[in-house]
């Protein structure tokens, strides 16, 4: 319970620190940096944890590409390093399945979710709404440590008997339900489920906090329609997370009961595994698919909306003009949020669903492309007529727009039941979702890191390295996943360990080789980022409080911001996109510049 010293009511909405309270957290090291309740520290904790997980995810991707690019090659060194996964220098098929599963799980849930959603969500939302912390700081700390535990459980699962889970990041039963199915279906799958349950608990707490913060502690004058699109996107994606994630918790409980307590929620009758009849009866594997995709599809937007919101907020700092169609973009975010809850069946067109259901899910999916396209066009129109300042964050945002457009186009084919029958489970799908849930979010994550690094650490990242990092990331990334669309059109199925046994895919060997080489360039170029990140932390040039001449509230604070952020609540006078107006500071006005000094445009 807050004491009067901590909470002061002003204009009915704001909490802030009264005068006399120190600006730095004066508690000991552990409370300041380990079990901190400061949203900025927690945000950075999430970001660092997510980046570490990304290293694991990228290493796994390299193993996948090594196998697919050089299927006949032997790798004696890998046999020594990973004796459980390689025999005689050759990767075991079941190890390949585990690697694919863990790559997907880590990248979706433990990299993008942690860095982009929880990390930047925690760091930015309170600052951009003019609050001194999240609505529930203790819950916030709890959510991070549960997230940490979840990641630890997942990493631990590599080392148990049978190895890590191998049923794909979607964990479809019966593969995920029967310990005898593949080696990864043993303890590894149980730990995978436990890790997901912890992840969902943590993510729900975090989402609840973000929604409560946006609704209850906005600075005076900061109406909802003056919020930056970043905050709007976190707001919508957090609500989505709150509503869409619990069903997977329910599904995880049922799958655990199927695995360990003899129930048959998802296990059908007549299954034979290892020449033995499984005693289950009447369960429905499709039930899992429905419950999983009820989470899985909104999850795509939970990750993607913050990427788009962040892109919209970085754009104007480098175009020096307001984003195009702010209000329309807000309405599009809301529309996408609602529609994303009713389109999950488009992942299941080939599951034998009724053609009428397929028709409905196709129509709903086509409908969701409307607000998404409007949002994309708004981003493009924001570039129109501007003199682009192509610094690293802006380059990455341009990459976001490019991938969003190209990847989105593939979505039109996959959302159509008729076309999906042909393309389902091919590399077309792999190419599509990597561009959307992988590329849009990855590039937005880098854009965000380059853009807010000066605010977070008070230092600037090296621009030359950053630009090199962009080109060496965007180029290979686009090539890899653009080409995978065409692999899919040629009929290459996903999840296969090797294509050497199929005559019709013999001609794709060269394509797979090029894709693998690009993947190695992509992974290697991330070292440029890591070096830049670590070097800049220690030796980077000192950053000014507003190096990008941006308008949102965090730029009114010193870099890095003090422990309690604003101290006194900032008075907001305008929207977040007051660019291209003559002011004493140049061509922009931060949200706190009074209306008397610079006319308010929105």
């Amino acid at each position: 319970m807050a004491t009067p010293a901590e909470v002061v009511q002003a204009n009915g909405v704001q909490t802030f620190r009264p005068a006399g309270v120190p600006t730095h957290d004066t508690r000991g090291f552990v409370r300041r940096f380990v079990f901190s309740t400061d949203h900025k520290v927690i945000g950075i904790q999430y970001i660092v944890t997510g980046l570490l997980m990304a290293i694991v995810g990228a290493a796994l991707a390299s193993l996948i590409r090594l196998q697919l690019g050089f299927p006949d090659q032997q790798w004696p060194l890998l046999s020594k390093l990973l004796p459980a996964g390689y025999q005689g220098g050759v990767m075991l098929p079941e190890f390949y399945l585990a690697v694919v599963t863990m790559h997907g799980t880590i990248m979706v849930f433990f990299f993008i979710s942690y860095v982009l959603v929880s990390g930047f969500g925690n760091y930015l939302v309170p600052l951009q709404v003019g609050a001194n912390d999240m609505a529930f700081p203790f819950l916030n700390m709890l959510s991070y440590w549960i997230a940490f535990l979840s990641a630890a459980v997942l990493i631990f699962s590599f080392f148990v008997t049978g190895g890590a889970a191998a049923a794909g990041w979607t964990a479809y039963p019966p593969l995920s339900a029967l310990a005898a199915a593949v080696p990864g279906s043993q303890m590894g799958q149980t730990l995978w489920l436990l890790s997901m349950a912890l992840f969902i608990a943590s993510f729900t707490m975090s989402g609840l906090n973000i929604v409560a913060t946006v609704l209850s502690v906005r600075a005076p004058g900061l109406s909802m329609m003056r919020l930056p699109l970043t905050v709007w996107s976190y707001f919508v994606s957090s609500i989505l997370g709150l509503l869409a994630f619990p069903p997977l918790t329910a599904a995880a409980v049922m799958l655990l009961l199927d695995r360990h307590f003899g129930t048959s929620f998802f296990l059908p009758s007549g299954l034979i595994v290892g020449n033995k009849l499984v005693p289950s009866t009447g369960g429905s594997p499709l039930l899992w698919q429905h419950l999983f995709w009820f989470l899985g599809h909104p999850e795509v937007y939970v990750l993607q909306l913050p990427a788009l919101g962040i892109a919209c907020d970085i754009l104007p700092a480098f175009t020096r003009k307001p984003v195009f169609g702010y209000r329309t973009s807000v309405y599009c975010l809301m529309a996408v949020g609602c529609l994303s809850m009713i389109v999950w069946g488009h992942h299941m067109f080939v599951s034998g669903m009724s053609p009428f259901s397929g028709e409905y899910f196709s129509l709903a999916t086509m409908t969701i492309t409307v607000p998404m396209t409007i949002f994309g066009v708004n981003m493009l129109a924001s570039l129109w007529g501007a003199k682009l300042d192509l610094k690293a964050p802006m380059l990455f945002v341009c990459g976001v727009i490019a991938l969003f457009g190209s990847g989105g186009l593939g979505g039109l084919f996959l959302g159509n039941a008729t076309a999906d029958m042909q393309l389902h489970d091919t590399y077309f799908v792999v190419g599509h979702f990597h561009m959307m849930i992988g590329g849009v979010t990855l590039l937005a994550t880098f854009a965000a890191i380059y853009f807010w690094f000066p605010k977070m650490f008070g230092r600037t990242m090296n621009e030359t390295l950053a630009k090199a990092h962009f080109w060496l990331t965007f180029g290979p990334f686009f090539t890899i996943f653009f080409m995978q669309h065409f692999l899919g059109l040629q009929g290459a199925p996903r999840r296969y360990y090797a294509f050497t046994a199929y005559d019709y895919l013999r001609n794709t060997r060269g394509q797979n080789l090029v894709i693998s080489l690009c993947a190695f360039v992509l992974v290697s170029s991330q070292f440029l980022f890591l070096i830049n990140f670590v070097w800049s932390l220690v030796q980077g040039r000192s950053a000014a409080s507003n190096p990008w001449r941006a308008t949102t509230l965090e730029w009114t604070l010193p870099s890095p911001p003090p422990h309690d952020n604003f101290g006194e609540a900032p008075i907001v006078a305008r929207w977040a996109y007051e660019y291209g107006v003559p002011t004493p500071e140049g061509d922009f006005a931060t949200q706190t510049v009074p209306a008397a000094s610079v006319p308010v445009t929105a």
């Binding site: 909490t15 069903p247 307590f261």
Partner: protein, 191 residues
């Protein structure tokens, strides 16, 4: 209710936040049970579906939970009139009845096991144990909140600021779980 007495209890920002947080939490819990329910409906169409007999103590448990909810409301009404002693006693009774409900659920589970009905016996029994178990876990959490509400009410005579807002959290959470129980009981009994 004496609204004049409560007028001085305008919720603070913090209390509004807690209320908002609670409603969002309840939304997630609703989605959890909605998922269980939809799974129940889907699984029920399986050829191996067989209803098992449910113990009659569940009726008593339902009455106990209903009475507990009533006691919370009574405590709130008494407290609003400044009858702190009666209010605290009513809250204590509500808490105790909550514990009795949990104990009653355990008796129900044991009775089913004694009758040879286990978790995997039939899909119906699997759903029954799983959903009532999930509900019981939430009841445990709500009992912690109810215990807090009881302490707040005991102290309210000297420190009544914020009492109504705190009580509203207890009431919302507890009644919500009561409604969920009625729904679950109806589902597993009737469908």
């Amino acid at each position: 209710m004496n609204t004049t007495a409560l007028a001085m209890d305008t919720p603070t920002v913090r209390e509004d936040q807690l209320k908002l947080g609670l409603w969002m939490f309840l939304a997630t819990v609703t989605m959890l049970f909605a998922a269980f329910t939809s799974a129940y409906v889907v699984r029920r169409s399986g050829s191996d579906w067989r209803h098992v007999a449910l113990p009659s103590i569940l009726w008593i448990n339902s009455a106990v939970l209903g009475t507990s909810s009533g006691a919370v409301e009574f405590a709130y009404a008494r407290g609003a009139r400044g009858r702190w002693r009666t209010s605290a006693v009513a809250m204590s009774i509500a808490f105790a009845l909550g514990v009795v409900f949990l104990a009653g659920q355990m008796v129900a589970w044991r009775q089913m096991v004694a009758a040879g009905v286990y978790l995997p016996t039939t899909p119906h029994s699997a759903f029954f144990f799983m959903m009532t178990g999930a509900h019981a876990v939430h009841i445990v959490a709500a009992l912690v909140v109810l215990a807090w509400g009881t302490v707040v009410t005991v102290r309210a005579a000297g420190q009544r600021r914020g009492w109504a807002a705190r009580m509203s959290l207890c009431r919302t959470f507890w009644h919500y779980l009561g409604v969920v129980w009625v729904f679950l009981f109806a589902l597993v009994s009737l469908y």
